[in-house]
């Protein structure tokens, strides 16, 4: 399986994402934001950071980077797309996920471990977790306060698109939302950083199963032919 880690000017979690994929022994490339072909990749990681300086709004400028048209195409094709932190902000700005991320209610940049509940373990990204399992994954953001209107929130609930919620809401997100997926389930965005929790040396390895979940999902859909 082949992973891509997108790199925008100002990305700063790209190396963490790259290392996380290495940790599960899969192949991974950095892909610059000007790239116009993602056809070689099965999963696209949109990393955290401050792409384009977060000027105007987080993710507002990055969403027009050439590579984003390819991300939209990959989403359409059903490939796995994981946006983390700034990556989540970019995916909402691009309209690949509903809602928006506002300034934290406390106005503070919050950087610490959080307890997350796996609300939906029936996604390609979370299948290795138990339903409602509590995991420890760190956050590091100033603008992670998820917002959507009532109607969208109802839709998210109805379609089981809320993937992670916070145990102790650190930023004011509605319905304690930490991560959501699209209706089809192949695009996920989350503020916490699973790539920073892939080894007990980091304090937690609870994030690693997101990467192994993706691998397993990919294998399920690609190895079938060779088995039968």
């Amino acid at each position: 399986m082949k992973f891509a880690v997108l790199v925008f000017p100002g990305s700063n979690c790209d190396i963490d994402c790259y290392k996380a994929v290495e940790e599960i022994g899969e192949s991974v490339d950095y892909v610059w934001h000007t790239a116009t072909d993602l056809s070689a990749y099965d999963c696209i990681l949109v990393p955290g950071g401050f792409s384009y300086g977060d000027y105007l709004r987080c993710g507002a400028i990055s969403r027009f980077a050439p590579v984003m048209a390819e991300v939209a195409k990959a989403a359409e094709q059903g490939k796995f797309i994981l946006g983390i932190c700034n990556g989540f902000q970019i995916l909402t700005e691009a309209g690949l996920l509903p809602g928006a991320l506002r300034r934290n209610e406390s106005m503070k940049f919050r950087c610490h471990d959080t307890v997350l509940k796996v609300v939906n373990n029936d996604t390609p990204f979370t299948r290795e977790y138990g339903k409602n399992e509590e995991v420890i994954i760190p956050i590091a953001h100033g603008e992670g306060n998820y917002y959507c209107d009532e109607e969208t929130l109802e839709t998210l609930k109805r379609n089981n698109q809320i993937v992670f919620t916070y145990g102790d809401n650190p930023n004011g997100s509605i319905a304690d939302i930490a991560g959501i997926c699209n209706e089809r389930g192949n695009v996920i965005g989350m503020m916490p950083h699973p790539e920073r929790a892939v080894n007990t040396l980091f304090g937690s390895e609870d994030g690693k199963r997101m990467f192994t979940s993706i691998l397993k999902s990919w294998r399920d859909s690609h190895d079938t032919a060779s088995i039968s």
Binding site: L56, R57, A60, I61, F64, T92, E93, P98, G99, A100, R102, R103, N104, E105, S106, M107, N145, Y147, C148, D149, G172
Partner: protein, 81 residues
């Protein structure tokens, strides 16, 4: 040349934490009359056109596509010249 001014504000009903913090600061230094305060963005643009109708149409597209995120923000604009 046409000058354009764009104002982007957090939608009514959406929490504006900056506004709340600044309002609190005003209260703490004696301006109790401040009942609400919203912080927004102010942008000045100079457009290389003399066609006002076209300028307005394109400015609106700029707001919708980039300058405001209409999920959480409202915008308004003024044209002069």
């Amino acid at each position: 040349m046409i000058k354009a001014t764009v104002y982007v504000t957090v939608k009514k009903g959406v929490l504006d934490p900056q506004g709340v913090a600044v309002q609190g600061a005003l209260h703490s230094i004696g301006f109790q009359e401040v009942e609400s305060l919203r912080i927004g963005k102010y942008m000045e643009l100079t457009l290389d056109t003399n066609d006002r109708a076209e300028a307005e149409e394109r400015l609106k597209a700029m707001c919708e596509k980039l300058l405001a995120n209409t999920v959480v923000e409202d915008y308004r604009y003024e044209l002069e010249g």
